[in-house]
């Protein structure tokens, strides 16, 4: 009887391993399509803030190597600024966003035009006010990325934060 239980137990262990293998395999093609994202949200995934009070959180982002994005205050009127937003009715309100100063950047073929950009990693200080409860906030970062020779169309990525208002 014990032998049978052991065999059944082993069989179910293999079953679990096979399920994990199957689900991991199913992700492969999707990942290869997404690998071109210029900006990635790093952290925090979860914050706990006092309900009803303005609270500062620091959001960390990373830009893919070789690319830059316009700062929040680009120097040309036609360039698209980097902006962070939280949708209405999220249970969390963005009362203020403080962006880092851009670094000066010039394109090799146009050394006279100075651009204001972010590269590598950067942070945005967001001041939020949350109601009581657990809010899964799908905020957005809108940016427009370029390298030295070409620019990609403007894009908005989701910034998912679990905000707990206590």
């Amino acid at each position: 009887m014990n032998g049978m239980r052991r065999q059944v137990g082993m069989a179910f262990s293999w079953l679990a391993v096979a399920s994990i293998f199957a689900s991991a395999q199913s992700d492969l093609p999707a990942r290869s399509i997404l690998k071109g994202a210029a900006v990635e949200y790093l952290f925090p995934e979860q914050v706990t803030v006092p309900a009803g009070k303005a609270s500062d959180i620091t959001l960390h982002f990373r830009i893919a190597p070789g690319l830059h994005i316009n700062s929040h205050t680009p120097k040309d009127e036609f360039l698209i600024p980097t902006t962070f937003s939280i949708p209405e009715d999220a249970g969390v309100r963005l009362s203020k966003a403080t962006y880092p100063a851009g670094e000066e950047f010039v394109l090799p073929l146009d050394p006279n035009t100075k651009l204001s950009v972010y590269t590598a990693e950067f942070t945005i200080q967001a001041q939020i006010v949350a109601t009581v409860g657990n809010h899964l906030v799908e905020a957005r970062l809108r940016y427009q990325a370029c390298d030295k020779n070409a620019c990609m169309p403007p894009k908005a990525i989701p910034v998912a934060i679990d905000v707990i208002g206590k």
Binding site: S19, P29, N149, C151
Partner: protein, 209 residues
């Protein structure tokens, strides 16, 4: 013993079913991803055998340029077909594109240099247009016109170029240019900022020189 065998057989059957389901799911997703990529006719960067920068290889090269009809800044319909018999450079650009601003003065000069030989440029803006909001749409058109004026663009500027994304290989980066010969065939394509000399060489190719 007989009961053990039955249980093991059932478990093995379940295991085999899961393994098959996982494999089938993976195959399905792989094929769907390949179809999606093929549908957008993605271009490739191919390493230069001489050790230089990777070369842009468009899947449209050697094929008829996809036809289109777009509005110009004055609201007139402009169709690629109406330029048959001319060599045409289709230059996709955007107001937010810094490298486009470096390239555009070269295009203006080259256009005036080769126009007499039957050469034209169509500057196709890929700026987003908000068709549902009349006021926004009007402002967006004005911005494109203002940017074109600042860049002293002397050739036709067409709008709503993002709608040509699929037939023209994704248009994932600006500027992107296609050089079309007098028969309407794409003879060369350029992705990103290259050089005035490269553009001129491709114009000559389109003119059959």
């Amino acid at each position: 013993m007989k009961r053990n065998s039955i249980v093991i057989t059932i478990v093995l059957f379940i295991l085999a079913t899961f393994a098959w389901a996982g494999w089938a799911n993976w195959e399905y997703r792989k094929q769907a991803a390949e179809k999606a990529l093929a549908a957008t006719a993605q271009a490739e960067l191919v390493p230069d055998t001489n050790g230089g920068m990777p070369q842009y290889v468009s899947p449209l090269k050697g094929k008829p340029a996809p036809t289109f009809t777009l509005e110009d800044l004055g609201g007139n319909k402009v169709s690629l077909a109406s330029y048959k018999g001319k060599a045409v450079l289709i230059n996709f650009w955007a107001t937010w594109c810094g490298p486009c601003k470096i390239e555009t003065p070269w295009l203006v000069e080259l256009r005036s240099q080769y126009a007499a030989k039957g050469f034209e440029i169509l500057g196709v803006s890929t700026d987003d247009l908000d068709r549902d909001d009349k006021q926004k749409l009007s402002d967006e058109k004005k911005d494109i016109a203002r940017s074109a004026q600042q860049l002293k663009i002397s050739y036709p500027v067409l709008i709503d170029g993002a709608t040509l994304s699929t037939p023209y290989g994704g248009l994932d980066e600006m500027p992107t240019s296609f050089f079309v010969d007098r028969n309407g065939t794409v003879v060369a394509a350029q992705l990103g900022l290259t050089s005035k000399a490269d553009i001129e060489a491709n114009i000559k190719k389109a003119l059959g020189e």
